[in-house]
Amino acid sequence: MSNETLVSVENLGVRFAVKRGGGWGKASYLYAVDDVSFEIKRGETLAIVGESGSGKTTTALAVARLVEAYQGKVDLDGTDFLSLDPEELRLARAKMQFIFQDPYSSLNPRLRAEQIVREPLDSLGTMDEAEKKEIVDRLFAEVGLRPEQQRLFPHQFSGGQRQRIGIARALATQPDLIICDEAVSALDVAVQAQILNLLRKLQADLNLTYLFISHDLGVVQHMCDSIAVMYMGRVVEHGSRMDLFNNPLHPYTSALLSAVPSVDKARREATKRILIPGDPPDPVNLPAGCRFANRCPVATDICRQQDPALRDVKGGHKVACHLVGEDAVSPL
């Protein structure tokens, strides 16, 4: 595996204007993505985890310029992605593709499978029909669909097969980066295993890079090389798969991991559940200090006063918590 950084995201910020309580008051902002930075190496998978509403999807959409970032930089293979003009963007988009959660609604029901897979090539507009047909034929084989299924419409496929069509479509333009947003969450476990195996095989064969969003930590553990944990728009911990799972440092990460029910008896017995009572704070009126302080079992005065910054504590293992020192020991 190369050591080359394919994607580098720096201080990314996305905010949405929200009106509170009507009247003439000026709009306040919900910072859905707040100062987010991470890197993904070519051929690797970065997983983003975090609770619902923490900003995972918005981060991915901003990286792909499907929502507008108000600050920050996205570098894709040396291209400053956020400053491309519309024509440059159209061509560059081919390098970054999405696979969505819902294999039912993300495919146009009026198009045949073959048209769906060909669509990104059509909009790229650089190939003749014969070239496109050759690519589509190859893609169908690669994702495990039969040639005669090219003529069928989405409703004639099962959920897993529809997700294969979505994968074929994402692969069509030979992207460098594929963003999978809850790509297997709607599937039953058996079909999920088929799709996860396919994604890993394609990654190995084509040296693909994935940004993989999932709420299922078992799936994340199986798929990723590194992880970013998000909480209320922030990355609170970022590190390698081994570091995150075997030595979680941020109290929220620990709570998240401890909440996963496990079939492994040894794990159930070794894991003390870390309860985080209550709810996250109002995202429009954020507290001054650490956003996790009202639920954190070890919060101190400094936590309620100062917002902890994400910093490298040990060989690339980054955490945003006042109580984690240079020794990289969990404060719990």
């Binding site: 039953d188 999920q192 195996n197 553990q221 798929m223 996963v260 079939v263 159930r268 009572p277 709810d279």
Partner: protein, 328 residues
């Protein structure tokens, strides 16, 4: 001793465009007082239908109990009057559903909805019922229960709405709580809170729990006994730990091994997941006299295609409907 709930040779038929199909096909199981069991299996295998059948809530004109019996505390439910079933639903058997938003009424506050159940169940005054609603919200750990009792469902998060549903279920003081994928739409940290809550409730009231889920980890954490459903039939039943440790049905084995679990330590090495090829058969293929798992099974023989496998019991209480259960 008679079990609290006893289901025998239950057959539930659904009428669809393509004909009548047995969505539940000869299902038998028992539930003891204070016991918790889990139903597990892929979508479409009949888990929810089992629950709705017990509750007397099968889809009207579409579903009906064709044969078999369901007895609760010795009373036959399959022939009970609609009024009696309503009574049992209000007092003895409660159900919480996957999507709490659809089961709460959007135009009433959560307090009004909880209080109404309390009044119907315990005949308390309006004021007393309201106060008890606050207590229940507090019991299900809604912060600031006194303030939140006047919230409408849309003002609450998914996890809070599910806790309200549990509060309503608790208001009935049921002997059996059926939870159909109660946490599927929720974050794991919220799921952990809901599981704790259900376990507390079980300890305090001695209620039995039937939890439906597709997550083996949740089964391992929540249940004493598990029932694996496949295509309307019971594939396997057994004590949770032993069944997960040594499944006796190839489908159970597949369900466990196809999922990437988090083990006690994570190692560098990763293998491809074991695949269970194919998908659950469609409803119109249910009910045939053969093993319905055959098309996905790597142990299939001619015999499996010719006759429905009977349930084989094992000494530890496990039972598996597979011709080759001893060899799994």
């Amino acid at each position: 001793m008679e079990p609290l709930l006893k289901v025998e040779n239950l057959r539930i038929e659904l009428t669809t465009r393509t004909g009548v199909a047995p969505v539940i096909d000869n299902l038998s199981f028992e539930l003891g007082a204070g016991e918790s069991i889990s139903f597990v299996g892929e979508s479409g295998c009949g888990k929810s239908m089992t629950a709705l059948g017990i509750m007397g809530l099968l889809p009207e004109k579409v579903g009906r109990i064709a044969s078999g019996s369901i007895t609760f505390n010795g009373e036959e439910l399959t022939t009970a009057s609609p009024k009696r079933l309503r009574d049992i639903r209000g007092n003895d058997i409660s159900m919480i559903f996957q999507e709490p938003m659809t089961s709460l009424n959007p135009v009433y506050t959560v307090g009004e909805q909880i209080a109404e159940v309390i009044r119907a169940h315990q005949g308390l005054s309006r004021k007393a019922a309201w106060n008890q609603a606050i207590e229940l919200l507090d019991a299900v750990r809604i912060p600031n229960a006194k303030g939140r009792v006047s919230d409408y469902p849309f003002q609450m998060s998914g996890g809070q709405r599910q806790r309200v549903m549990i509060a309503i279920a608790l208001a009935c003081e049921p002997k059996i709580l059926i939870a159909d994928e109660p946490t599927t739409a929720l974050d794991v940290t919220v799921q952990a809170q809901i599981f704790d809550l259900l376990n507390d409730m079980k300890r305090q009231t001695g209620a039995s729990i039937i939890m439906i889920t597709h997550d083996m980890g949740a089964v391992a954490e929540m249940a004493e006994r598990m029932i694996v459903m496949y295509a309307g039939r019971k594939a396997e039943e057994g004590p949770v730990e032993q069944t997960i440790e040594h499944p006796r049905h190839p489908y159970t084995r597949g369900l466990i091994s196809c999922v990437p679990h988090i083990m006690s330590t994570i190692s560098e090495e990763r293998h491809a997941l074991t695949e269970v090829p194919g998908i659950v058969p469609s409803l119109s293929d249910f009910g045939q006299n053969r093993c319905l798992f055959a098309s996905r099974c790597n142990m299939v023989t001619q015999k499996c295609l010719e006759e429905r496998p009977p349930e084989k019991p094992f000494a530890n209480g496990q039972k598996a409907a597979c011709w080759y259960a001893e060899e799994v």
